[in-house]
């Protein structure tokens, strides 16, 4: 199949960018979206043009490195799928596909389709960890986790941090990402001691970079892991509880 690509090209963070049009010829419908881009890059390389820079790593939809806006769909038109797991059979011969990087003030374009997602790292650094030393590997059943908590925590933990939620959000909010990370740790007994500090620290870091939630639910639809916006509601409740608990703890000093 033959495809026309309109791709955002930008040489660096401080350089003006723009769209370039390329022809992708003889692409197999079995090719993944990035295999198609690889072929286009081979072609550009042969022509002496700088290849299109894009992020990808595992190419099996589990690492969260990739992510581009395809025709106005975060990660492309297939739901619950990362860009790398999108296949060309989703498109038709002769289609024109527009490929853009994620857009948000917090995510400046580094080059072409690659954005700097460092604010996500800063949210994790603020509290997305458990600092208790667990020592050597304990017996797996020594810390009991209720089944529903384990399931909900695992659902939230499936977040791969690709930032499609921010890209999809009309407000550039990162509530789905932060909510998932908070729910993932706060639901488990191991995460409970730092629960209230974590919630406030992560929410405050998030709010210093991103917009706020208007409950559209676009993020949930864009998420390659189909994480529910229930984690956002959960974060909203935990944040109030956390502010109150932290206030009460200050009174004990």
């Amino acid at each position: 199949m033959n495809i026309t690509l309109r791709v955002w090209r930008q040489a660096g963070p401080d350089v003006e960018g723009g769209f370039e049009t390329y022809e992708a010829k003889d692409i197999s419908p079995e090719a993944s979206f990035f295999e198609m881009l690889d072929e286009v890059n081979e072609m550009l390389n042969d022509e002496g043009v700088e290849p299109i820079a894009f992020d990808s790593d595992c190419r099996e939809g589990i690492c969260g490195t990739c992510g581009v806006m395809v025709d106005g769909h975060p990660h492309g038109p297939q739901s619950a799928t990362a860009s790398c797991q999108l296949h060309m059979r989703k498109f038709s011969d002769g289609d024109t596909i527009t490929i853009e990087p994620w857009r948000a003030v917090a995510f400046p374009v580094l080059r072409d389709l690659i954005v700097d997602r460092q604010p996500f790292d800063e949210i994790i650094q603020a509290g997305g960890f458990i600092s208790a030393n667990i020592g050597a590997a304990p017996d797996s059943n020594i810390i009991l986790v209720p089944k529903p908590a384990a399931e909900s925590s695992m659902d939230a933990a499936s977040c791969i941090g690709c930032a499609a939620c921010v890209a999809a959000c009309p407000n550039s909010a990162a509530n789905l990402f932060t909510g998932a990370k908070i729910a993932h740790l706060n639901l488990l007994p191991q995460g409970s001691p730092e629960r209230y500090h974590r919630t406030v620290a992560m929410v405050e870091t998030m709010e210093s970079f991103f917009g706020s939630c208007t409950n559209f639910g676009e993020c949930e639809m864009a998420c390659p892991k189909s994480i529910s916006i229930d984690v956002i509601a959960w974060m909203n409740r935990d944040y109030v509880a956390a502010q109150w608990k932290n206030f009460r703890k200050q009174g004990q000093q």
Partner: protein, 246 residues
Amino acid sequence: MTTKTRRLEVNRRSGWRSWLGPFFTSDIGMKWMMALTGAGLLAYVLVHMIGNMKIYLGAEDLDHYAEALKTLLYPIVPETGVLWLFRFGLLAMFGVHIWSAAVLTLRNRAARGKIRYEAKRQYSAVNYANRTMRWGGVIILLFVIFHIGDLTTGTFNSEFVSGSVYNNVIYSFERWYVALFYVAAQIALAFHIYHGAWSVFQSLGLSNPRYNDWRRWFAVAFALAILIGNSSIPIAVQFGLFTVSG
């Protein structure tokens, strides 16, 4: 690589030492305020709609109801005391609701930046109701201002007589453009409620997979009840269902 600071330049932390200060200046806290005042306004709109239905019971019933509102808890409190308490409460709720919406909208704009996607965004969850929350809210505000001028102070109603609510409503709604505006405003309100009555649970952290479907139906039922109840009155007046009494 040059690391540019991307932190939004908004003063979020007030100097208060209490937990309420930092909480209510945060985005999530603002959403809480919007949700709490929204819930209060929802309750008010429902009570108001039920009160409006008194018009179907006749002039005496409606006028007596209006009189009862003025003398609520009288003589324990001064006449119209409770009424004014409600009015100030409503004004405060409106103020906080609109203020938090305005502040959050500005913050969101700053976070989103100027660059838009080139390809048309293919939204899958955005619908007419949640897309028009801001401008729909402005229409509702304009309506509320007109409504007070029309049926509380009588500024926009030349036949207005204080106390004879039944007649005032008929005189006002006999003007076809006023009737039309009332119905249009109720449609805007119904859309606002369709998103708001669902959204309130999410903002307050009360969503749960067990009753999330129920939340949607709650919002639909609420919006429809308000729309049908309230807009039935201008329509009924236009069809000549009521006649001026006394």
